[in-house]
């Protein structure tokens, strides 16, 4: 009886979800992330509903299963394949589906989904080395397929345990799809290798509407402005500004006549956040050599850091909304005229290790956030000069 009451109360809590974002799923994932009755968890350990939005690569299927099996019971999964919507059409009610699924599994916990993968180590015990784990002494080796820390020289000429692990493709702090194999000493990345690139957003519905030739220039400028705000939200979220990020996302959904005013209000909220420059200025600086390799143009004395990325997105959003409001909207319909920094996936893979090595984990994550990965081009395609 008491348990039933507890579950009834729990059903009224914001739905705890872990969102796996695939190709084409960014828009719906964002709608879900910022819904007020959804609690998007940073770790599957605290989620009750796994939401897979968009298409995932065949090689990522096992990662989805692993994420699923990490969730505590009672748990359930919602697979969602987004469709391109005509411009101006409201997104579907994914949050209702998710909340219903959560309510159903709490109403009858016996329907909680069982593990997908067998509960066993990824590899057999090696049985080599001093203690059989394949390393030296009690350290190192790969027992049961899991690398153990092993002492190695660090950047200060001292010896420190180096730990190797793989992160992604659905780690919440990294761009969706990116799989990184890293070796860290303490908090500092010593080696990094891109095993799988992040997903491109080219087929996302928020970008697709921009190519609708039927729209007039003012609407087009407003859509671009809204897009800037949607790129801005996850960056704010990552630096610990969850409510400010939510505001950025809600601003992107403001009515046409209120968009500029809401952007001004957002800018004011960010100006009133005294720690913002402290958290973003000179954080995630991309070395100039890497900028060239990525095809990113650098302004004369501007740093390509997190603050630059945040402020340029906000400035672009404001400028475009202002253009739309004053009927001086640009005639261009190509998203890359407004976002010339679109990256080439192939170039990114080769340069990323150089960008990340030597950085602390948090700064490495911020550096990735400072890169315009939202506009990533698929492998092999070239960015228009």
């Amino acid at each position: 009886m008491a348990m039933r009451r507890l579950l009834a109360l729990a059903r009224r809590a914001p739905t705890p979800v872990f969102i796996v974002t695939g190709v084409g799923g960014f828009e719906d994932a964002a709608e879900l992330r910022w819904n007020e009755r959804i609690h998007a968890c940073d770790t599957p350990r605290r989620a009750s509903v796994l939401v897979v939005a968009g298409q995932i690569r065949p090689e990522d299927r096992q990662a989805v299963a692993r994420v699923h099996d990490q969730m505590p019971h009672p748990r359930t999964t919602v697979w969602h394949q987004p469709q391109v919507r005509p411009a101006g059409e409201e997104p579907n009610q994914l949050h209702s589906l998710v909340s219903d699924a959560y309510g159903a599994v709490l109403a009858d916990p016996s329907t909680s989904k069982p593990d997908v993968l067998p509960d066993q180590p990824p590899a057999p015990w090696r049985g080599r080395g001093d203690h059989g784990q394949g390393g030296e002494g009690m350290m190192g080796g790969v027992p049961y397929g899991r690398p153990m820390a092993m002492t190695a020289d660090d950047r200060d000429g001292l010896a420190l345990d180096a730990l190797r692990f793989t992160v992604g493709p659905f780690a919440p702090m990294l761009p969706s799809g990116l799989v990184l194999a890293v070796s860290v000493q303490g908090d500092v990345i010593q080696q990094a290798r891109v095993e799988r690139p992040p997903f491109s957003r080219r087929h996302d519905s928020s970008l697709a509407v921009l190519h609708d030739d039927e729209r007039n220039p003012a609407d087009h400028a407003r859509d671009l402005s809204r897009l800037c705000l949607r790129f801005l939200a996850p960056i704010l979220d990552l630096i610990g500004f969850g409510p400010q990020a939510e505001r950025a996302f809600l601003t992107s959904k403001a009515p046409d006549d209120a968009l500029l005013l809401r952007i001004e209000q957002l800018a004011k909220v960010l100006r009133l956040s005294p720690g913002l420059p402290l958290a973003t200025r000179r954080v995630g600086v991309i070395p100039s050599g890497c900028l060239d390799a990525l095809g990113l143009s650098q302004e004369s004395d501007e740093l390509f850091d997190l603050e630059h990325r945040l402020m340029s997105l906000l400035a672009k959003a404001r400028m475009l909304a202002d253009d739309a409001a004053s009927s001086t909207a640009p005639v261009s319909r190509d998203v890359r005229d407004v976002f010339p920094e679109a990256l080439d996936s192939l170039a990114l893979e080769s340069v990323l290790p150089e960008i990340l090595v030597g950085k602390e984990w948090r700064e490495a994550v911020m550096t990735l956030a400072a890169l315009p990965l939202d506009l990533l081009q698929p492998q092999g395609s070239r960015v228009r000069p």
């Binding site: 507890l6 770790t43 400010q244 939510e246 720690g275 911020m366």
Partner: protein
């Protein structure tokens, strides 16, 4: 100095439990209210009820164990955090004539509690046998040392006017002038330590998003509920102690002393929650630099100024 009567153990336990429970819940409500206001959403009754609903959800969740965890450490980390928060309240006079344990070395005990929080957080990161949790645990050791040092100087500064290490004596010494006016740097630095020890706002580099929840990345169900409760309870303890050390404790006109303590503690809680939402998370290396080169010298200054005024 006004003689302080000890509360009976039972009444002290009841009061401490009530303050922690109500204070912890209030922190959760204030967090949601602040989020709504910043996000531009309207406040609704959900702000009041969601903490209870979320607690029910966590109680109904399975508590997952990782592979080969340090099980005793995993179990005791939230218990240590909660116990430290409660121990802090026991030594604070809640009103004139009501204190759980009026220790002559009260501020030393509080300093020890702050230092032991480092142990609780490190245990929480170390226990699950998980890379991100472990990185978070080590991060807190790196930043926690500076919190301890800053706190030590400002606690000594607060005790100088009273010429005593007893918290009751410190409250009594503020009958005519509160320490927040006498030592203007003391309270801001104390609040900084409070945010750091409870891993909030700009100091949230421990249970942060870049580590997918950091030391809590593997926590679920009851374990996570207890850990969150510990963080909220510790913030409540900091607010109550801060009002005793810097805002004159029970002193105030017209209203009973316990009401003044309540109002001042709630005020500090609101300030702490607002500060944690106003500032973004600072990268650990930069945070440590700021703490050692900015906050620590400021705490020296606060102590020097307190010493000069006391002379």
């Amino acid at each position: 100095m006004t003689p302080i009567a000890h509360a009976s153990p039972l009444s002290a336990v009841i009061v401490v439990f009530c303050v922690l429970a109500v204070g912890g819940y209030l922190v959760a409500v204030l967090d949601r209210a602040a989020s709504c206001l910043i996000a531009g959403r309207e406040l609704s009754s959900d702000v009041l009820l969601d903490p209870m609903r979320s607690a029910a959800w966590r109680l109904s969740q399975q508590t997952v164990r990782t592979e080969r965890p340090d099980a005793p450490i995993v179990a005791i980390a939230p218990a240590i955090y909660l116990t430290l928060a409660a121990a802090g309240l026991v030594i604070v006079p809640m009103s004139e004539g009501f204190v759980g344990a009026d220790l002559p070395t009260g501020v030393v005990v509080w300093g020890t509690i702050e230092a032991l929080i480092i142990v609780a957080v490190f245990f929480h990161g170390w226990g699950p046998n998980s890379p991100f949790a472990m990185v978070a645990g080590f991060r807190f050791i790196a930043v926690g040392l500076s919190y301890g040092l800053i706190s030590m100087f400002i606690l000594i500064g607060a005790s100088l006017p009273a010429e005593s290490l007893s918290i009751s004596a410190i409250v009594d010494s503020q009958a005519s002038l509160w320490n927040v006016i006498r030592q203007p740097l003391g309270l801001p630095l104390f609040l900084l330590v409070a945010l750091g020890a409870t891993m909030r706002g700009p100091f949230d580099v421990i249970d942060s998003r870049d580590l997918a929840g950091g030391s809590s990345v593997e926590s679920s169900g009851v374990d996570h509920l207890l850990w969150s409760a510990g963080r909220h309870a510790a913030l409540t303890s900091f607010a109550v102690i801060g009002s005793a050390l810097f805002l004159g404790g029970w002193h105030g006109p017209l209203l009973p002393g316990s009401v003044w303590m309540l109002l001042k503690s709630v005020f500090l809680l609101v300030v702490l929650v607002a500060a944690s939402h106003a500032a973004a998370g600072v990268p650990p290396r930069r945070l440590i630099t700021l703490l050692w080169l900015g906050a620590l010298p400021a705490s020296f200054l606060a102590l020097a100024e307190a010493g000069l005024v006391a002379l």
